[in-house]
Symmetry: C2
Subunit: 282 residues, 2 copies
């Protein structure tokens, strides 16, 4: 496995590969890799000839009140996981190489970023779309793999790639969960044992919402109310947002449409957890 730090070396590697007809699969990450990332790398491995994983804790997507320094950094373990999964190249750019002093260009998706994470974290998605544009231009993959866990991020990146006519195909892979339903996240490590037990409430709420819709409930308000009640019964949990939304535009729905996404963000103690579930009414 090759480690590349320089942007020019990464571009050159990609150019050589593409000239030889090699299809590149790309998994952009901020490190702190877990089995969710592992599933993305495996999907890339299956679909493409060569796999690039980037590890870059992107300062641009952290707000001024968010702790960039606290973000977990586990490089040695990350490299091991990449190696195990047959990654060809780990790309570890340095921040000043991606954002030199004269840097001043941003890529923004307008409507899709106005709600949910976009409200909660102003500037966050602009940071995401800007760095993803840069990484896609450097790595030039045929396919790039994102987890469904960050549903809005996946929707925003998909929109951005279509709007800017980028050649990469965006592939969204299902959320990987613990056996009790908790979605894997680098933030789970911050949970105390009590909080870890309480954190299953996200998946339980999503499942309850899904079951209601499948049982024929058509009112989004009723579904949201049932999910809210379930989460409120958990003393360690505090809802930040919870919504039945359109799966592409992420706009609120009044009546369940037949294909909808349940989106929520819940604080468990001091840890902010996201989860979602796409529900096809039967």
């Amino acid at each position: 496995m090759k480690t590349i730090r320089a942007v020019t070396a990464m571009s050159a590697w990609s150019r050589t590969m593409r000239r030889d007809g090699v299809r590149i699969g790309f998994v952009p990450t901020m490190g702190a890799l877990h089995d969710g990332h592992r599933a993305l790398i495996r999907a890339a491995r299956l679909a493409c000839d060569a796999v690039v994983v980037s590890i870059f804790v992107n300062p641009l997507q952290f707000g001024p009140k968010e702790d960039l320094a606290r973000y977990p950094r586990t490089f040695a373990e990350d490299f091991r996981l990449c190696e195990q999964e047959g990654t060809d190249t780990v790309f570890v750019p340095r921040a000043p190489a991606l954002y030199p002093p004269a840097f001043e260009t941003t890529v923004s998706v307008q409507r899709l970023t106005r709600r949910f994470e976009g409200c909660a974290r102003p500037g966050h998605f602009e940071g995401v779309t800007t760095v993803v544009t840069k990484l896609l231009n450097i790595v030039h993959p045929d396919q790039a793999f994102f987890g469904q866990k960050d549903y809005q991020q996946a929707a925003v990146v998909t929109r951005m790639v279509a709007d800017l006519n980028l050649e990469t195909k965006i592939v969204i892979r299902p959320t990987v969960r613990e056996s009790d339903g908790l979605a894997l996240s680098s933030r789970n490590r911050f949970l105390s044992p009590d909080e870890r037990a309480a954190a299953t409430v996200l998946y339980r709420a999503l499942s309850a919402g899904r079951d209601l819709i499948r049982a024929g409930e058509h009112s989004a308000k009723t579904v949201e109310a049932a999910m809210t009640r379930l989460i409120r019964a958990e003393p360690l949990a505090r809802i930040e947002y919870l919504s039945v939304a359109h799966p592409t535009t992420l706009e609120d729905v009044q009546r369940v449409q037949g294909r909808d996404v349940l989106l929520l963000t819940v604080w468990i103690g001091q840890t902010r957890l996201l989860d979602n579930m796409v529900v096809n009414a039967r």
Copy 2:
């Protein structure tokens, strides 16, 4: 010469060419081609193996008070000029193909766009950088050619391409002028004979500024004052802005730096004319 209208067909053409090692030169235009564009196509022809000219009057870069409908459209002559200069492919996308209803992504260069044309035409450069990003992603040229006549635009595009790690090399070519110094522009056709005579004042002012600097003048204010006086002596001319600026950052300079750009926009009657000159002090 091939004419391509569909975005997918343009991408496919480019992909095939690149696979064969063909270096693509690209001249993005809004049509109304003149000898300035001709010089860009010739430069592309000399530097690359295949030349693509795009003709697209980009609605995104026109403000609400600017008349998109009034922009000259001379497709038949444009095609003839492209053909004469050995263009391989003319790309003529339709607006709804580049901007479908769900389109909502913008590319913005922040600081460089705050002055001059960016002040005068809010949203203009965002329209330019967004469409240029899209066109570069569709055409995927090795080199793209821009005229120095739109100096700030060339600076903004160069910055954007560096910041987003686009693979295309941006080549800036000198302004093409009439024998009396008037810079070629699609807007010159709007000038009456009297206005056409008056319009030489832009080049005369730039030349006067250059001569002062070369004669040893160090104060930007003195240079600007001399240029302003010269233009004010022309009754049909009205200055919108006029500045001695840094050639890369476009910030005002107090003292002439040794390499500076003289930038100005002057109304001649109802027609808004831009011009500039880079001055290397001797």
